[in-house]
């Protein structure tokens, strides 16, 4: 019974992981295909010195694509989820400060971005969406176990060190195993 429900939760976690992967892959790709727009979007936050706008606009889509890819394959899931959460908090902070300062910008979260007319800002919706995404990331930080993942494949590695175990108790098994080979 407990086993069954746990695998069900694993399945749910897998959906969470793939959902978060999709968010980052889509947002990263949309930013990467339109670098000029991304630069405008980054600049519109009026947070960075001009010299940093370009590098950040270049790096952000790449970071998103990398996180999305690692989530897609389920590698080092907990740490990638943690990094995703940190990134999301940073982005939400940027949006919130723009809102607080009364800037009229589109967040450029999924491409687009830059200045918009006073009445056309969508800060509450943008932040709500980010909160939802953050919850996905938090799930995976708390419970990174999913199926169809590199992590699981590694855990099932017949000869590898136990991923969760401290080294010392593990060592005898390994030394015992190796000479045979």
């Amino acid at each position: 019974m407990a086993r069954l429900s746990r695998s069900a939760v694993d399945g749910l976690g897998t959906l969470v992981r793939l959902g978060l992967a999709a968010v980052f892959l889509v947002s990263g790709a949309l930013k990467a295909v339109d670098p000029a727009q991304t630069r405008i979007a980054v600049r519109a936050y009026e947070l960075l010195p001009p010299d940093l706008v370009g590098p950040v606009a270049t790096a952000l889509p790449l970071v998103e694509l990398v996180l999305g890819t690692l989530l897609l394959v389920g590698a080092i899931t907990r740490w990638v989820a943690l990094a995703s959460g940190v990134l999301l908090v940073v982005l939400m902070t940027a949006v919130a400060q723009a809102w607080a300062r009364g800037l009229s910008i589109d967040c450029g979260c999924f491409g687009g971005g830059g200045a918009v007319a006073k009445g056309d800002t969508r800060y509450p919706q943008e932040l709500a969406r980010d909160v939802g995404t953050l919850l996905l990331a938090l799930w995976l930080v708390v419970r990174p176990r999913t199926v169809l993942s590199v992590d699981r494949w590694l855990r099932a590695d017949p000869g590898t060190a136990d991923p969760g175990a401290a080294d010392p108790p593990d060592a005898p098994w390994r030394t015992a195993g190796n000479p045979v080979k």
Binding site: D151, G159, T160, P163, G177
Partner: protein, 266 residues
């Protein structure tokens, strides 16, 4: 890689661990290679990430040369107002207008682009109505921001040519409406020439843009800088700078234009 793998499994229950360790011991005893999967996964992930980053960079750079359209989009014609060259400035509106608004702009400056978006229509209307003499001072302080560097100077110089060719308003408007992004490619000489031709300028304009006006722009920028520094309490020169009837204006106060235009009614 095995280090990363170890970290991931941290959330597991001790009971499962023991079971798995047992299983591992069996397979290990049978001669299963230790950490093979970790190695494979590590290499595979590095390769995949390299490909992802490569594709991402390619996507970003793919459009660089053509990030701007081939031709500069021509801005729509606005209201009509008189235009005259005066030294290194372009005077629009009636010289007898009660208010003089001096605008110092760099064609590469994003804030100038925003300034134009916000106030262009009302400035030209004021010039057309004879309410204000709006004097444009093209300067070049952001040559470093374009690829290749020097677009600010090139555009400012071309503005002189456009004024001589009697196409200043739409030439100026087009360049701000289609302002190159910071750190992006500036419009080229050929594109500026093409814009002029689209607006009806002839060979004199084309030759003028080709020749450039580096010295003139440099001098004009230096003079403008000296003038503005003298007006500002902090002695700094940036663009856009706006001077109304000889006094520097804080354009972050959005009512500045209303005040400038209403002052002369009193």
């Amino acid at each position: 890689m095995s280090k990363k793998g170890r970290v991931v499994g941290g959330g597991e229950k001790a009971e499962d661990k023991r079971k798995r360790q047992g299983a591992q011991a069996v397979t290990a005893a049978r001669g299963g290679g230790r950490g093979n999967r970790g190695m494979i996964a590590g290499v595979a992930i590095v390769v995949v990430l390299a490909v992802v980053i490569g594709v991402g960079l390619w996507l970003q750079n793919r459009n660089k040369p053509g990030a701007l359209p081939v031709a500069i989009p021509v801005a729509a014609a606005g209201v009509q107002y008189p235009v005259a060259a005066q030294g290194d400035a372009i005077v629009t509106g009636s010289p007898q207008a009660p208010t003089t608004i001096d605008v110092y702009e760099d064609f590469m400056c994003p804030v100038c682009g925003q300034f134009e978006k916000l106030y262009h229509q009302r400035l030209t209307q004021a010039a057309a109505d004879g309410k204000a003499k709006v004097v444009y001072h093209p300067v070049a302080i952001l040559d470093e921001l374009s690829v290749p560097p020097g677009y600010s100077t090139l555009a400012a110089g071309a503005t002189y040519c456009a004024t001589a060719a009697d196409i200043f308003p739409r030439f100026h408007d087009s360049l701000f409406a289609a302002q190159p992004p910071e750190g992006g490619h500036g419009w080229t000489i050929a594109q500026l020439q093409q814009l002029g031709r689209s607006l009806g300028a002839g060979d004199a304009f084309t030759g003028c843009v080709q020749a450039g006006a580096k010295q003139r722009v440099t001098t004009a920028t230096a003079n403008a800088g000296q003038y503005i520094r003298g007006l500002r309490p902090d002695h700094r020169f940036g663009t856009p700078s706006v001077v109304v009837n000889g006094a520097i204006i804080d354009i972050s106060d959005e009512g500045w234009l209303d005040q400038a235009l209403s002052a002369n009614r009193r």
